[in-house]
Amino acid sequence: MSRSALLRQAFTHVPSHGFTRRALALSAPEELSDSAVTALFGRGEEAEKTLFQAWLDEGRQDMRGALSEDAKGGEKEKLYALLARRLRYNEPALKHLPDAFALLSSPSFASSLPIPLTLPRFRLLPGLKHVSSVADEACWLLAPSSGSQSTTPTYYLDRTRVAAVYAAAELHQLSAPGRSERFLRDLLEGTGALPQVVGEMGMFAEYVGRSWAGIIRSRGM
């Protein structure tokens, strides 16, 4: 079985065993030995990080399913459907997620020798990277497929808003899973006016710029 096939098989063991080497060991038809897990996926916590990263990547791929089910609905409905689907993907492994996120932030030794040759790098922003990649995926899936409009003007603004909403919703889910979808909907509605506000700020700035251009022109420069 290929490495990616083994990882996918390991996902089925995650709800019961968490993101551990045990789940990886159970992924093959006959249980893998510890050295086999090390050879395939990395030493110690590296293997667990690999498993978690692969699980997160699978979650992003899974988001596409939300759009094909809900063909109708405007932008807001589609965004809600995408993020809700990603939150639902978390549910089977919910109780293992806080440990897994903590694992992501822990330092890792990149060298193959057991002696640390360099200082461990504390990864300060792995959670942000995860949230921003979910937001990126959601925004690209929502973008018009024919590409008739340019995506540049609101690219960063959309992603910032979706990332913030998703981060809050996921943190809420980790503590209170039952009400997460309601919370997500409230957040999306609350921040829905944001692009319009920024657009109006731009219009005001343009108005001020035009008045300055008129003043400069009238001074005869």
Partner: protein, 235 residues
């Protein structure tokens, strides 16, 4: 008017017309349906080369992203440079139509770049508003300096862009992955490079090199373009 001036004016107009004529023939070939960029202007969803992206390693994905990001930023800047030049020289009979025609081609290039950006899911540069303002400023300032200075600015920008597209074509040729979208990308960049070099010829034909301090102006503009390219690649 003395007869010699009339003769000089007639020769100038004839040279302008001659400059327009071969370009008219070339323009029709680039807007015909066989041009690679027309596949992006038509939006056919069943075309795999314009709607799918290859599976690349992280490093290759970053490289492809840099290429498309810089090209898109360059086309935004070029559009706004021509907009700035038109704002000042739009009414000028000799250079107005020329600049308008070059601007129309750049608008098409920008549409193609936007679609490429969406197809390969490339992050656009954060400096897009800066590119717009700086481009407009550059176009307006050089146009205020005179018609020939505007052509000199076009010459400098198109020289840097032409060389830059050439470097990108070499980098893409070294990419080991084979995918219809990548070969289409190479064809599109080749076509865009040829269009930009055509603009360069136009600018030179229209006396860009008659500007006083031509060397200084082109050096400043070329250096500015190179700095902008390096910045947009990373940011």
């Amino acid at each position: 008017m003395p007869p010699l001036d009339i003769l000089a004016l007639a020769m100038l107009r004839a040279r302008n017309l001659r400059a327009l004529l071969p370009r008219a023939a070339r323009a029709s070939s680039s807007s015909s349906s066989s041009a690679p960029s027309s596949r992006y202007l038509k939006t056919d969803p069943s075309d795999a080369a314009t709607s799918s992206s290859p599976a690349l390693s992280n490093k290759q994905r970053t490289e492809l992203g840099e290429i498309i990001r810089v090209d898109q930023a360059g086309e935004i800047a070029a559009n706004w440079i021509y907009m700035g030049q038109m704002a000042v020289l739009g009414g000028d009979r000799a250079s107005g139509p020329l600049i308008q025609e070059m601007w129309d081609q750049e608008k098409k290039h920008l549409t193609v770049m936007d679609r490429l950006q969406a197809q390969h899911r490339v992050r656009p540069t954060v400096l897009a508003p800066v590119a717009k303002i700086a481009g407009f400023g550059l176009g307006a300032v050089t146009a205020l300096m005179g018609r020939d200075a505007a052509m000199a600015c076009t010459e400098a920008v198109e020289t840097v862009i032409g060389e830059h597209y050439d470097d990108q074509l070499k980098a893409l040729a070294e990419l080991p992955v084979k995918h219809p979208s990548l070969s289409l990308l190479r064809e599109v960049i080749t076509e865009l490079r040829d269009d930009e070099l055509e603009h360069l010829d136009t600018a030179v034909e229209n006396h860009s090199q008659r500007t006083p301090q031509h060397a200084l102006l082109t050096t400043i503009v070329e250096t500015g373009c190179k700095v902008a390219i390096e910045l947009c690649k990373r940011v």
